[in-house]
């Protein structure tokens, strides 16, 4: 069974402009397949539709058309089944800021059916694995650096043993060392957990370094999805940035927004 099958997935948002409203396409008929155990990177600048894609797969948005299935379960109609199989790390550190790392992980694990007797040992173990210092576990999240918070976000996602991990710019805004640590951990997770990873990023080197295949998403359209080496050959490019330029017709930095990506 395929981990992810996305067929002609479409989403538009309404944008207010003064008194009038305009429909802005965020994702326009995207189709692709991810095999079990694969790591696929979706590369695109801000506003290209990456976050919309992740939020559709996370059951937080309803599509305007098309379908997405996660291990055979429809993301629109079988939300409970899909939610049990996935978890997510996004660019924002989304935690109750006054609560500690352990408290945030503890209640979040309950939402996935994990009892206190199960998480009492699992939480310290997983925090150790992501390199989170033991003496800071009881500190409010607001006292932690972005890098530290992102490690807790990874721990939260892994605690629920997802078989599809959705990573939405997980290293954006991190210092080089934290970025490298998070990327190392993603490699480790793939190796040890049999997890399928969908990585949405605008970091070209990250996409090339972590993913089996790289897709270019631009203006809500998926232009291609192949191994990075084949992508470069196809577009006669030496780098992914060049490949992006050839595929999209504009430089990578361009950002056009439907909904905030």
């Amino acid at each position: 069974m395929r981990a992810l099958e996305v067929h002609n997935l479409r989403k538009e948002f309404v944008r207010r402009e003064g008194r009038s409203r305009r429909r802005v396409p965020a994702l326009g008929g995207v189709s692709f397949v991810v095999e079990r155990g694969e790591c696929v990177a979706i590369l695109g600048p801000n506003g290209s539709g990456k976050s919309t894609l992740v939020r559709l797969l996370s059951t937080l948005l309803l599509p305007d058309g098309g379908s997405a299935t996660v291990f055979g379960h429809d993301a629109e109609r079988e939300t409970r089944a899909v939610r049990k199989l996935i978890n997510r790390v996004s660019v924002e550190a989304s935690f109750f800021k006054k609560m500690s790392a352990v408290e945030n992980l503890s209640y979040a694990a309950r939402f996935y059916g994990l009892r206190g007797s199960e998480t009492r040992e699992q939480i310290p173990e997983i925090l150790t694995r992501v390199g989170f210092p033991e003496d800071r576990r009881a500190e409010p999240m607001e006292n932690l650096s972005r890098g530290m918070q992102q490690k807790v976000a990874l721990a939260r996602a892994l605690l629920t043993s997802p078989i599809l991990l959705l990573l939405d710019e997980p290293t954006t805004g991190l210092d080089p060392r934290s970025k490298q640590e998070v990327q190392e951990f993603i490699r480790e997770v793939r190796g040890e957990h049999d997890a399928t990873v969908l990585l949405c990023t605008h970091d070209l080197a990250e996409a090339e370094g972590l993913a089996d295949r790289v897709g270019i998403l631009d203006g809500g359209s998926l232009l291609c999805l192949e191994p990075a080496a084949e992508l470069k050959v196809r577009y006669g490019a030496e780098t992914l940035e060049e490949a992006f330029f050839t595929a999209s017709g504009h430089a990578f930095e361009k950002g056009e927004d439907g909904e905030k990506a």
């Binding site: 948002f13 939020r55 059951t59 948005l61 989304s94 109750f96 309950r110 939260r156």
Partner: protein, 274 residues
Amino acid sequence: MSLALRHELVGLGGVIERNIYLVKRYIWWDIAFFLWTVANTLTIVFIAKGIPAVGGKIDVQRVTTILLVGAVIWAYLGIIFEILTETVAWERWEGTIEYTFMAPLSRPVHLLGMGLFAIVYGVVRAVLLFGVVAAFFGLHLPNADYGAALVLLIVASISFIGIGMMTAVLPLISPEKGTQLGFVAQGLLLVVSGVYYPVSVLPTWMEWLAKISPATYALRGCRKAILEGAGVISLWAEIWPLLVIGAVSVPLGLWVFRTGERYAKKHGKLKRSG
């Protein structure tokens, strides 16, 4: 116990656990808010002392108790509404909303967890508030049946939670104005329910609204229990309407919330601020 039921119960525990952590972390804010509520209640209850001072003739002890019960129930209802509205509003502010709504936790269990916590937290605060203000005024209530008043408050809470679910969805539909609209709903509910006066003084059309407001029966029943010592059985005239309103408002509240959640998912509003 089936695996699915166990999963839901663990999730329910998670909602309550999270709220306990929040109370613990914001304890000084809670204490400050409680002191503000005490001060606010005192200003209302002092009205009973003030009427004779300006020439009015009233049974001060009785009016003091009537006002106190009104103020305590106002505060209690405020807590229930606030906690349920926070189901969305606080999570949006903290940025956790997407993680909570993508978790495999059924929405009824999620909202029930918030409601259960709100009842326990609200009852503790209401009891403390009543005790502090009653002690301040030296109220002597030998006939009061506090147990019956508590039972009535808990029965009324079923309806309050149903209505709270409907207002909780407002911040989901309108991130900018939703919370304020929740306060408007709470205020309107109390205006028609006789919070500091008998509903008979209201215009006829408001009296009709009072009949479908659970707060009307909660206020009347609690006053009977505390002033006249009415027991649970003799409060049946207040309890059965509360059960009927609860039986309607909870499923209706769940339906409204689900419909609002679907709208938010359709229009991209189920997301953190910004």
